[in-house]
Subunit: 275 residues, 2 copies
């Protein structure tokens, strides 16, 4: 399936208009069936549908270990993905019905979800990375996101071990890009609890929920976090870095994983520069 489509537009620039071709981000709605039950319809960029399905189930807490995923079938013609899972919680269908539906980007978390999340221990990874290494990876991250550049309408996420980007995913939804990333790592058998996630999109509480469930210790975003995301990162031991652009970044929580040894603190800098 194509991830972009060609269209004809009128491009206006000042007092000049021209008819020209343009590329749009494609979107599809696909159905996700779990153990023969249609549970949800997901709207996303038509790529990595298997990863999308698995990442969604991981983020929703319906899947945790590889051996619980018995079967996965993508049916492109019918726009559906069928998954067979073992050991589903007794109330899994009820839980799905209780799930909050939210309007738009900051997708909701039910109170029951929150309780389940709160019960998880904080993340204690000793992973650390320097600002210089983050900058290097950010440059690579900007480079890989071709689709974003082609259409301007797509978010990217990438997984890194701190040395290079292992792979990246793209989607019209920033949440989807993260779900695809987590799902891709899961299907490839790559642990994520010692990895860094890069994201082009803003960080809401919902994105942070995905990090918490997958035990990812560091999230670097080019955009802003919300207060719910910062609170969740603080509570769950996740290092949250936002506004990471060029040489700049904001470290919102758990700076113990940022290696500041080559960095002068502002006070020292003032002193050494004689201000």
């Amino acid at each position: 399936m194509d991830v972009t489509l060609e269209t004809l537009i009128i491009r206006v620039n000042g007092d000049v208009a021209e008819e020209t071709g343009d590329r749009l981000a494609a979107e599809i709605a696909f159905s996700l069936d779990v153990n023969g039950q249609r549970i949800v319809s997901l709207l996303c960029t038509p790529s990595d549908l298997d990863c999308m399905a698995v990442g969604f189930l991981l983020s929703e807490g319906l899947l945790s270990k590889r051996e619980l995923l018995l079967d996965l079938q993508v049916n492109e013609a019918q726009a559906s993905v069928g998954v067979t899972l073992k050991d589903l919680p007794v109330d899994w269908q009820g839980r799905f019905h209780r799930k909050t539906i939210t309007s738009g980007c900051g997708q909701g978390v039910t109170f029951s979800d929150s309780a389940q999340l709160r019960a998880l221990p904080p993340i204690r990874s000793s992973l650390a990375i320097s600002p210089a290494a983050i900058n290097e990876l950010l440059r690579e991250f900007r480079g890989v996101s071709d689709l974003f550049h082609a259409t301007g309408g797509v978010h990217s996420a990438a997984l890194s071990d701190g040395k290079s980007l292992l792979f990246h995913t793209e989607d019209i939804g920033r949440h989807n890009a993260v779900d695809k990333l987590i799902g891709k790592a899961f299907l490839a058998g790559i642990p994520v609890d010692d990895k860094i996630v890069f994201s082009s999109g803003r960080v809401s509480g919902e994105v942070m929920t995905k990090m918490i469930r997958s035990r990812i210790p560091i999230l670097v975003s080019r955009a802003a976090p919300t207060c719910m995301a910062v609170a969740a990162a603080e509570d769950h031991g996740i290092t949250l870095i936002g506004f990471a652009r060029g040489q700049r970044m904001n470290v919102y929580t758990h700076p113990q994983r940022v290696d500041f040894s080559k960095i002068s603190r502002y006070e020292d800098h003032c002193r050494s520069s004689g201000r």
Copy 2:
């Protein structure tokens, strides 16, 4: 309720780090009760909760006319909004359970929704606006969005009659900003079927669904549309303008509402400049 919160961060710039204050976009989860039934939990910026609730119900097709809204109570302490509606469709609760839940920005539309939408006649408004007037309004739109500038994490939407911006709304979710806008107009008794909506966010199929239900003839976005949004705009007679920044904009659909009389078509421009 405050729409931003102060936090302490470490700001890194090159090889200098400093501890400093930063402002974050606030988020709350509030429950929406319709006729005493808790139907959904919505995650949004804590402002205009009454507009958010009403806009959500309008976009979901559960509310259409002012006289059907019998009562609206915002309970900030309990983070809930209670709405009493008249003449709900017989299957309204079932419909809500069937609603697709999607992961992230491109929130889903069920097939039943689509059928209902397809039955609506195309929008035939004779509203027209020139690129120069759009540019003028865009400048004003950039100016009003203070919260976005303060935190970098918030989307804006504004309603215009083509001469000025009547009002604007803000939210962490671009869908929510549009729902708040439509809800605000509804509660103020302002018709929207002869107005222009400005949006800071990308235009997905879901945003376009809101336009279709509220019969809004022109949508101007600073960002990209998806192919589903363009297809829906084309089918429903909506003029969709994207990438509207500075002097530039792309007209994706129904250019008959863009007044090109002061604009030279590219071919003419080439001819007059001797190229």
